[in-house]
């Protein structure tokens, strides 16, 4: 009895991104641009906080290490977060968003289509070097937090605009970087 109650609570509380595997009819995986996996990149991030009417800018880089994504902010503060499902310190909401984030960075459309309807707002003008895609959550639980994600790029994903339900926005601009250099920077912070 106790276990049922507890599990139900746990499930209810952790389940923010549980999505039924309904496939988006908007774009099939085959029609979506092939994207190379970004092993690492430098980023600039702009977080627009609607309720404070403020924008927070930061720069840094990310790189992959084992199963984790090391997210290193270098300015304005030095902060490193290990983005991995087994990191107990991650906020719960982020843990369930993790597959989305890695799916975006990997350009893994198939994985993303489990959670999002992928639309091509400008499909005719898209080329393999310049394309845009809009991801709208399929699942109410995700939609409650996340309004949509706009991705754009060429060979790799170059910009990600995440629009949250509370009107906050995050814009990420990614530029390819030499992984070895970044790794060295990581070793000697």
């Amino acid at each position: 009895m106790l276990l049922i109650r507890h599990a139900a609570l746990a499930v209810a509380l952790t389940l923010v991104a549980a999505a039924p595997a309904a496939q988006a009819e908007d774009a099939s995986a085959a029609e979506l641009p092939a994207i190379e996996l970004s092993q690492c990149a430098r980023f600039t991030q702009e977080r627009e906080m609607a309720d404070l009417d403020t924008t927070l800018k930061s720069t840094g880089y990310f790189l992959r290490r084992d199963d984790a994504l090391i997210w290193q902010t270098t300015r304005p503060v030095d902060d490193r977060v290990r983005l991995a499902a087994d990191n107990p310190d991650l906020p719960r909401a982020l843990k369930v968003m993790l597959p989305v984030l890695t799916g975006l960075l990997d350009g893994n459309w198939e994985a993303l289509q489990e959670h999002f309807a992928v639309k091509r707002p400008d499909a005719e003008r898209d080329t393999p070097d310049a394309w845009q895609a809009r991801l709208v959550p399929l699942d109410d639980a995700v939609a409650e937090r996340l309004e949509r994600i706009d991705a754009a790029g060429g060979e790799r994903v170059e910009t990600l605009k995440i629009r949250f339900a509370n009107a906050d926005r995050i814009t990420l601009r990614l530029t390819p970087a030499d992984c070895a250099t970044l790794a060295a920077e990581t070793e000697t912070p």
């Binding site: 276990l3 952790t14 991030q45 304005p76 902060d79 906020p91 996340l146 990420l172």
Partner: protein, 760 residues
Amino acid sequence: MSRAPGLRLDALLWGVVMLGCTLLLAGQWLGGAPVDTRITTLVPDSPATPLIERAEKHQSQAFESRILLLISGPESAEKLDALKRALRDSGSIATLSSDDLTRPDAALSPYRYRLLADSLAEKDADAWRQRGLSRLFTPGVDASLKKDPFGLLDAWLEARLDGPVTVEDGKPGVTQGGTRWQLISAELAGSPYAMDVQRKLTAALGDFEAAHPELDVLRAGLVFHAAAGARQGKREVTTIGLGSLLGIVLLLMAVFRRPGVLASLLLSVASGITFALPLTWWLFGTLNLLTLAFGASLIGIAVDYALHLQCARQLHPGRSLSRLWPGLTLGLVSSLAAYLLQLATPLPGLHQMATFAALGLLGAWLTTRLWLPLLPQRTHPATWPIAARLDRLRLPRRAAPWWSGLGLVGVVAVVLMATRLTPSDDLRALNPSSPALIDQQRQVQTLLERPGGQRYLIATADDAEMLLAKLERLDQSLTPLVEQHRLGGYRHLAQSVPPQVVQDKNLARVRDLYDQAVPELLDDAGLPAALADTLTSPLKSVPYLTPSTWLDSPAGQADAALWLSGATPTAALVLLEDADPEAISALQTLAAETPGLYYHDRVAAISAQFTRLREHISRWLALALVGLAIIFMIRYRRRAWRVLLPPVGAVVVTLGVFAAAGVGITLFHLLGLLLVLGIGLDAGIFSTEHPDDPAAWLAISLSCASSLLAFGLLAFSATPALHFLGTTCLTGLAASWLLVPFSRGAPARLPSTDASATSR
């Protein structure tokens, strides 16, 4: 046969009584008079009883319609969706709670500044600043700098959810030893006892398992046990039940060959029940199904009276029935004495059972006495030869070897009883669920690190706030037990809703840390210092989180079982996980020393209850036997042993057999012995009253055989309680019947002595 006007008047009066009882019963039935299935009503009232009843009821309402499924194997994540679809389509599931889309944190949002997780409370301002920065610059989080820059709510929820359930690819589950188990939790569309819910659910799961034999499916939930029990019950009703009914009808038809005789036997039992049911219901206010079930089986003895009467009428159609009444009356008195003595015990459950059985016997006896002689009688020529052939089964004149054999059996049985007989009050032995199902439930509990909570503390206080404070104070006693690994863990509502004193303390600490960490956080992030006021303004006025607010929220509904509101005194449960004996004794001491705190162990309580019932029944039964022995000695003098041999001998032999087989005696064995004793007494009385009458011997044989068919066949039941009752009846009734020839003695040695006895 005389049909005196007085007898007709009595029969008419009895008819009026029967009609009255029928009307009373109909009124009770239609008026929805309460029926009870609670085992707690069997125990005498104690100060905690109403509380325990409230707690039990509350618990079962909260949990009984939930199920949990765990699935592992190749591509289990993909196949999970197929199972979910199948469950939804089956119509047996109301909601899949594991797909619950409600965001739990929304409900707690206004209260977050009063809810401080230990992990954050212990950290200093610098750690808070670092945490705030990390949340600000990590992508993917809609961290609200204005509302919760330090993630108070995240930390609170994290602490509340410290369990093995994780979400992978949006699917909840547990990982153990490299195996990923997908989790489904669901709410049933109806009662777990509803047949259609059981059928649809087990069919959907069965089909899924058949289609995916490569997957392991574990299930937990009351409905699976209920469904297995119902399946087993159904199977046994059709095999054992129909088998015994058919057997009895065939047996009686073979002997009497007249449907009218069969109907008269049924009439006497039916009127016994019609008499006992409404009166017991009326006397006790409620009817407990448990006591009713056993009371009803004890009424089985009632068929004896009608059997003796009908056998006498069939075999001696011309003879007066008056010679029967002393035996029948003594049979009734002895059974009534055995049952009514149970009224002297302090156990309400036994009172009801005894009253029901005694009234039932009285009703059946009165019907036999007043109605049956009035019914037209046609004998069948086949009955006499059967009785005559049966009558040849007697002890020979030189019966010394037989008596020696009997003596040997008796001595061995007594020695075995004295040396090897053990009682058994282990509830697990009575659990009707299959080992496979119990094992699955246990595996689910282990995987989810949540052992089944059969133990709890009930705390009471004058108001909700005092109760929360009391619960919180219990932490001081309970936490050390958990840390010493004596107690698996515990849950109470104050963990989710801290008392207001603690909420005040939390808020003070949060304000303090905000004052220190916010300016630095803004400075490090390069944000204007003026934002500090905006960030700290929500802390000025923070509402208290109350139990009702929490329990009404979607996430808090899962805690509903912990809080017993709506009646005085306000009470709450502390659900306890596995505890070792030392922890149990510590918990008991804690409850004994704390006013308004009660410890309850469901399994132990029921076991203790069974022990008390068993002890009481044995003690009063022994006393009843002594009393009866005295009555028999007055009436039969030196022949009194003949009356006592079949019932007492049968009990001794049965207990000896159980001792030899190493079977622990449970309450259900004892209830079987009550039946054996009742039928054995009737057999003893009639074989002593009419030692040379083939009619008495035929009636005794039919009584033993029909009871054997009715109750002895229960030995083949897979439901432990029924199996125990059955094996007892099987052994006891057979022994009782075999002992009757010893009571009767050699032919024509003892002439019938009761020709002078009259009934009226």
